[in-house]
Symmetry: C6
């Protein structure tokens, strides 16, 4: 398949399902009007991606996403030269495309990326709003509407992998967390397509695990896990089997922890 | 040999031999109907690959497999540009092929792979079900039937190599283990092509090693090892020679351990 | 897009807004007349980039900027060969372009770059004022007007990442810091487009955080952060929400620190 | 020299000289009939390579050998694309060649290789007997007669470099060691082309070094070293000079150890 | 710009300004007559580069310079193949050019380079005087007049970065240091273009810093720094401002050290 | 310059100057008749390279040399593909050239090379005498006369860098050291072109340094250093200046050690 034949699969722009918890929507919209970059902080599976999708939809702008990883280089974001018919042809990376088209660029798990990836966004994250492309010997000014959004999970930060202060201090920071019980139940009901009572039972399980004293888990049961379990129930699996596979086994490999979580689930779930 | 001349060797789709132990088949099928990704956990040689082959056969879908390793990059999964007649031509990687064709993609030993490999599957492992291909500047929506399956051996996890929480929490987890005696005997009989009594003796050896108190072995005798030993017997080797080569010498290099295992085998095997 | 079609976006040369604090302007101008390279030292967000922009504007010279990062190689600065029509064509890097055109070259965060990046500027930073380009087998003498400016944040230096003495001792060093209250208030007022009283309140918050005893913060609230908060207020957000997002959440992820900073902000900000 | 002009030097298939010690030949032949992969374990220079050559000759199959090393990548085994006339042409690696032609593939010192090398052989080492070639987007089924043989020296294993359990448990393991006195004397006589008495003296030296109490040597005098010394004698060097160069100096650089070994040799060798 | 169009900027061969301190000129000239390689040792900014420039001028030979750095490979010195019109064309590196043309090759900061860089000069640094170019499959004999000069700063050596003994023992070593007061004053006067009294004051500052008891500085004020400060004075800056920027701030970032150095400067400089 | 135009500089085959000390010549010649590979051990500058040159001249064979270094890959020895006229053309590396032409291949400082370099010589170092070239898919049998010689300095070995046992045990080992006084004086006289009395004085200095009690030097004064000093004397430098530059300063950077060595030299050298 040549590049021009590559099937362009565009995400249909139906409004995503999102329930606001605090002033996150207002802060994001103010930053968006200003063109200020936004940093989303929050645990795995609490809805950061969904929040950005909702904001993009509300603003009527395209959303271009990339996920940071250890081997990501600045070329993965900015672009690179390709050989075509014996000529080198420049191919925009996702960041450059967003800069040209005035889209929202969302860099997920930014602390996983190497430093050249984060440094490359600096001139886009201050008053300059420009992207120097060394390999083209040029500098792009961001089109109106371009907005930079990055996210990370503070629980993952370590000495080796943390956001540089010179990067952080360019962003308006918004903290997200798991929603309160009623909103989480509404979300699980909607996303998994299950009755509210089943969703409520799953949210109870999730809450019980999150508030476990002295928990040996590296991370708690996210809203995403509860939706995953709900989906299995919607496909006909029993609630217990679904929770066992999508929550308990997903959270730990340790036989003792798995058994303890199983007992906790038994105590929380309604008798069948 | 040019690419187009490469011999395509298609696995014939005869039903693989698999005996279910718990509710693993039901959970997998529910996840498959939902399109939810599945994580298989279990020790070396307990049948994870065989289980996936069985599920794929039952669902009538193609199975595309890749094994994670330290040097695997995202390009190994997604694809890369090749030079052809002076043009760069895109060649789909195995993951992209599975996404286009709606196949089951099985990434074995996922924790061995570098992070960019695991991050690249994230958008395929949540509600988006899409694969962004940066180098093509495009995003593929997964064809119906596409399902992601990954596996790993929890005994291998270490601080350096473990599955990221943000990856784990996207998967329905299924734990597999060595089957109970009767099923394991049936499996060894069938796979090695030996009489049930011989298979039974081999399973006894395996069980004895697995339940050894204070075992110095990093891993126990797997079902796969017992089948390997059975195969040597089917080729005319004595039971003791077969167990010595395919089980004892395969499990340890330490002379003391080898001798102790040999004595255990002597105690378990019937006098010739 | 081919190289020649790349949109050249030139920064319009309106005078940037800068308020001098000490003799930094005189020292820079003397160094510029002499052609001596300049090293700017100072914390994140104190205005180093803005200072260089002001100096370049005052001297009527083009400013070419690059930001050091771990993966920057000398080729990123000097240039590289590109394939074009089957020929290798040399493409100047930003440093080479500045050397040819007599521009000011500003290498931001120089300690982040690998050593070959810093060594490559040595012959430009002493009496030779020349740039050897090994790959062309040539040596460029810097055009009149060329000046080298590098910057770094002393607070970031570590054993692993520090400026080599043989590099440092080629530069006239200028130390910058956050401006005094009246100048900082003027700057925040102008840059954020808010009333002086609001700017004054933000500067009070900034000063309070900077003088916190035994602060657990790796870095304090920079002028840039205060401008960012001011911008959110200009977009209609409340002062408290703006400070919470652009200052408090931007400075820390630690719940205790975030709460303590919030109390400090409450004590400093005027009752609504 | 172009590829097609490369001189193909085929090893003439005369029967290699090998004397069996235990049941290693029977186990290998049973595994070969079954198509099961074989793992050879044993110290440096004990005859592992010679054993495989003998087995290949006996089975009338071609032997293709590769030696594992730190920088070996899977492409070194599987193959890579080469540019030819502006086209990329695929060139089979040695493993792929063996898979297509049904040859014995012998990977020497497997633990030296990087993990992607060992993982690439997994599907060839179980019931699948297939080689996925990601870069061709194809999977080769092994031709009849293909057999995988790997070897390593257990004395070299360390925490960093050991065979993964998931690799080990796919192989029938055969342990080799230095042969008993009479066979070793016969081997040295034949290989070095010296009288049996001289060979006998050399074997005595080897035995004395191997049974040294509290030996400071990392490895003992192998059969290969004794043959090397014998060869120097066959070329006219005195027995003592030959042992000094080919055994003593080859085993250690430490002056004390060299002197101690020299005294041991004096005690063992017949007076001239 | 193509290679052939690259502007060749030749350094005009006016006699550089150099004042000999010991027998360094005689030793260098004897080594040059003999063709023996020379190793220059000495602190940052003491005049090593200037010394080599002076020697090259005196001998009427071209001087080709390269600075060692962590990422320098042997190809950076020896040369590499470039694609040109579909052909690979060899491009000499600076060392190869010097070998062909009988120039003096000066490798500055040799310990910074990787080992393959230093090993590549071995055959040029002994009786062979030849440069094997593996990639050309050829070996160049050095033209008459070729001389190898390397330099390093002994104060920088560490366990990780030191000159290998097998490299050192091929060189005639010359140690350079800061010149005595009268010569240093003459040098600063000449190079900065300032009155001798001002130069004398600067040299006094430099001497005071160099003889500081228990100095916390990694390196002292070099002659180069004093010339830099003198240049700022020549451009109209006050002596105190010049010393503050070009000496004090250049030597340290530590506020306490900066203040202490400032007090030392106040004590040494004449009252304005 | 294209490859075919590369100036082939052939070393004229005049007999090198070498004085035998022990039975090193006989051992080498026996190994050469047998085709057995040779390992030379000895300190820096004791004459290992000269010894091999002498042996090659005596046997009338070409000598091809390569020096091991950290970045050497097997391709540097075996060869690689080059692009030529749009075709990839294979270019033999120095080892392959020696294998084809039956030359002596001398790999100096073998422990510096990466493991793939040393592993690649294994099949050339045992009974097979063949070189598998994976990238050509071929295996070369060594031409008659081909002989492998490697060398290293035992004093440099460390845990990280030592010769693997499986490599060592393929070689006949010859230990070289500095020659006795009379031979060393003869060598220095001849090589430096100075009167025997001057050479004798230099050898006395060398001996005094080598037998220094509790020497802080990593390595002692080699014969090569004494020849280097002699050469400076031949060019008119005083004996003391020559020893100071070519011996004392070459051996140490430590002021105390330099002074102590200077006093030792004063005590040994004749009063001028």
């Amino acid at each position: 398949m040549s590049i021009s034949q590559a099937d362009e699969v565009l995400a249909e722009l139906e409004a995503p399902f999102y329930r606001a918890v605090g002033d996150e929507v207002e802060v994001f919209q103010a930053a968006a009007r200003r063109g200020s970059p936004v940093l989303l902080k929050g645990p795995t599976g609490c809805g950061k991606t969904r929040f950005v999708e909702t904001m993009a939809h509300g603003l009527g702008r395209e959303l271009i996403t990339a996920a940071g990883h250890e081997d990501m280089t600045s070329a993965d974001l900015v672009g690179r030269f390709l050989l075509k018919g014996g000529e080198t042809v420049w191919a925009d990376g996702p960041l450059t495309r967003a800069v040209r088209e005035g889209a929202i660029f969302y860099l997920d798990e930014v602390v996983e990326a190497r430093q050249d990836t984060t440094v490359v966004i600096h001139p886009l994250a201050d008053h300059r709003r420009e992207l120097p492309i060394d390999r083209l010997g040029t500098t792009l000014r961001a089109a109106p509407g371009f907005q930079l959004v990055i996210s990370y999970n503070p629980g993952y930060q370590s000495v080796l992998k943390s956001l540089k202060e010179s990067t952080r201090q360019r962003f308006v920071a918004i903290e997200l967390d798991f929603p309160p019980v009623d909103i989480e139940t509404e979300v699980v009901t909607y996303e998994a397509g299950i009755p509210p009572e089943t969703a409520s039972a799953l949210v109870k399980v999730g809450r019980a695990i999150r508030t476990l004293d002295g928990s040996p888990l590296r991370e708690v049961a996210s809203t995403r896990l509860l939706i995953l379990a709900g989906g299995l129930v919607a496909e006909g699996l029993s609630l217990r089997s679904a929770v066992q596979s999508a929550v308990v086994q997903a959270l730990s490999d340790d036989p003792d922890v798995v058994r303890a979580l199983g007992e906790l689930v038994d105590a929380v779930l309604p008798r069948a």
